[in-house]
Subunit: 248 residues, 2 copies
């Protein structure tokens, strides 16, 4: 099978990573457990009647939500069999289909979708230009591509982690920003490999593929969110996520 | 006169700042003294026959260069009388005109230009949406807007300056990234006031005005540039400048 020969790191099927991931607020509570979710909703088109593909669909939260919004159908794509098993078990809507595939090599039917969505998955992909090209082809004219990725400010440093300044403040290190390529960190498990790209490269890759950039959000919490969850104040100091909306 | 009532900080007319600025490589050698210049040239349209406005024209280097490329005419706008005096003294081409005006309040004729250019000036402007709106109106259909600004990664921190990591490396602090507004630093003179905006805000403001984003470059030097000028290696660790190309 194609996916077994891929070089992509299937971190989600490693038990220690999966256990940690399953305990995250966004895994337990679903979309509402992700603080960036309200900002993502604002970037999405009206979903009624839309054909949707979700790249890195995980437990299928977004697929089921999209159907509740009236989507015509959702194809959820993920590499992790563990995640897809749970997604299938929790999805009863016949309009949702799941496909096990590696985003590095996934093939999608042409002009078959009105929205391509991806949440925090594309920063694991090494060949971003390839997947963007496939998404462009898979969308009909006017189709939307909305995704979140780890922000390159968060990912760039070879030693990512808060530093304490002389006056006792908190600051985030940025180095090797222009040096694109793999970053290996310990998050939930040891040796998680991500792909650092500048924000410029991400946007220019979309433009080169033919997309128009509709919105770029370097996500930060609202004051209400910080009041409700004080740990989110960190996100005012440096963005952890970038949200991008583009259109064919 | 309008410009005297402006709140904009006219730092370039302060002697200590002007003296320091005049000694920078980009002031002595002109465009070729700016390491980002080759990258900017790649973003510019063919200039032959084009009507150009340069927002923050300084000594007029770009205006004279544009005329040499065959531009139909250039309007150079700057707030600094000191800089405009030198620009006028060094410009003989009758196709170049200079206007003393504050970018916060400048008025431009409608659909009068094919290219709006700005080098490292717009990060001093408080009301970015206003100037972007004025530029959009001032451009003809298909007109280009190409500019460089200080990168928000460079500007965000309340204590910008290299930090030494535990392993002896160099890293740049990022904090208060989502907190947009003034940043006061000592660069060439004390108390220079700049305006921090996220890259997302810069791009979304352009999109909201009607521009299509053509290119976003978080400028970094080539290896050849680093070999010729080793101090530029810092720019691989964190971008100091963002270059943006947009089109009406």
């Amino acid at each position: 099978m194609r996916e077994w020969t891929s070089l992509a790191q299937n971190i989600y099927d490693r038990p220690e990573f999966f256990d940690g991931y399953s305990r995250l607020d966004r895994s337990v509570r679903g979309l509402d457990g992700a603080p960036e979710w309200p900002a993502i909703v604002r970037l999405l088109p009206e979903l009624r009647g839309k054909r949707v593909v979700d790249l890195g669909c995980g437990f299928g939260w977004f697929a089921r939500w999209a159907m509740m919004q009236g989507a015509a159908g959702v194809l959820g794509v993920d590499l992790s069999e563990t995640m897809l098993s749970r997604a299938r078990a929790e999805t009863t809507d016949p309009g949702v289909h799941y496909l096990r595939a590696d985003l590095e090599s996934v093939e999608l039917p042409e002009e078959a979708f009105d929205l391509a969505y991806s949440s925090l998955a594309l920063h694991y992909v090494e060949d971003f230009a390839r997947v963007v090209g496939r998404v462009f082809r898979a969308l009909g004219s006017g189709g939307h591509f909305v995704f979140s990725i780890e922000h390159p400010i968060y990912m760039a440093s070879t030693s990512p982690g808060w530093l304490t300044t002389d006056d006792g403040g908190r600051t985030w290190p940025v180095d090797h920003y222009a040096v694109e390529g793999p970053r290996v960190t310990d998050w939930l498990a040891k040796g998680v490999r991500k792909q650092h790209r500048t924000l410029g490269t991400t946007l220019n890759t979309l433009i080169d593929a033919g997309f128009a950039i509709r919105r770029v959000e370097e996500w930060s919490p609202t004051l209400e969110q910080v009041a409700a969850q004080p740990s989110l104040a960190e996100e005012l100091d440096r963005p952890m996520m970038a949200l991008v909306a583009a259109q064919k």
